[in-house]
């Protein structure tokens, strides 16, 4: 870990407001994007991010300086989000409220339109998944975690992680099937 970051963490543990703010400012973009991927809704993601930052500062004394900081931070964020999710009604979000999925970058306009359409229907299918399933999929595909790592981060049994991945990706595959007229999955 970088010396400056360690020094910052020490200052945070001593209760320096400025240090805490500075430390979090380096990660808040990451924290928010993680929360946004979990919730797919701006307001909820902001609420999750704020709760996560609050938890991070509270949990900082339990961080072991010989470990890497970002994986520790991610674990706190995930747990904080799971905690919020478990205390809330599952939100159903109308599509109009969703932020636009980023545009495809293909040069051919027809291909670009099609790519966009596919991304849009995948986004929609992702949104319709139960939030825990989406969280597991985000951890696998966007954070690159293994099944075991996902189980460790979330506290879910590894079999449950597999089930979420399997069911979630089946639904996503079904969304693509509509576009390509693929036959149903096994």
């Amino acid at each position: 870990m970088a010396c400056e970051e360690l020094a910052l963490i020490v200052a945070c543990r001593e209760g320096s407001l400025e240090a805490c703010s500075q430390l979090l400012s380096q990660y808040e973009g990451y924290i928010y994007s993680l929360c946004y991927r979990f919730s797919h809704q701006r307001e909820e993601a902001l609420e999750m991010a704020q709760e996560a930052m609050f938890r991070l500062i509270q949990a900082l004394p339990s961080f072991q300086p010989n470990r890497r900081f970002k994986p520790w931070l991610r674990r706190v964020v995930i747990n904080s989000c799971l905690n919020l999710i478990r205390h809330k009604e599952p939100a159903t979000i109308p599509l109009e409220n969703a932020e636009r999925w980023p545009a495809a970058t293909a040069a051919d306009p027809a291909a670009q339109a099609e790519a966009l359409e596919i991304q849009h229907s995948l986004h929609k299918a992702l949104q319709d998944l139960p939030v825990i399933t989406r969280l597991v999929i985000v951890l696998r595909h966007q954070e690159g975690l293994s099944y075991q790592e996902i189980a460790d981060e979330t506290g879910l049994p590894i079999g449950t992680v597999r089930t979420h991945l399997h069911r979630g990706r089946q639904r996503l595959r079904a969304a693509l099937s509509e576009h390509y007229a693929w036959e149903a999955s096994l």
Partner: protein, 136 residues
């Protein structure tokens, strides 16, 4: 070996042990159905692995400040952020000052949802105390 699409998914996830991976690869050589499905899954994986840029909202630094203040207050162990806000007057007042100044109240109302309601309830109670204090 029978066709098993979940094995294909585990293969793409890099979760198959050497033995199972060899069996699957040899099955793939003989099975056009699984080869086609693997191609489709690769496509899905590509879309899902595609990094998504998400711009941080403008109010994030403010929410961070608020979270840090609340977390550093002593009595907040075991509480959620918004529970801590219910107990602590100061952050609520700071929040109100900031919101009124910057005209972010609308955004915050949308952002914070039930949290803002709690904050405003707190303000209301404090406001009442102030009013009562003046009356004495």
């Amino acid at each position: 070996m029978n066709c098993d699409y979940d094995l294909l998914a585990q293969y793409l996830d890099g979760e198959l042990a050497d033995n199972a991976r060899c069996q699957l690869l040899s099955h793939l050589r003989d099975c056009p159905v699984c080869r086609r499905e693997l191609g489709r899954l690769r496509f899905l994986w590509l879309e899902l692995n595609n990094p998504v840029e998400i711009a941080p909202p403008a109010e994030l630094p403010y929410l961070r400040q608020q979270a840090v203040r609340a977390a550093l207050a002593h009595e907040t162990a075991g509480l959620t952020f918004w529970e801590s806000q219910r107990l602590a007057w100061t952050p609520v007042l700071l929040a109100a000052g900031f919101l009124a100044d910057s005209g972010l109240l609308n955004t915050m109302a949308k952002t914070a949802g039930y949290g803002l309601r709690i904050s405003l309830q707190g303000l209301g109670r404090l406001g009442m105390q102030l009013v009562k204090g003046r009356g004495k």
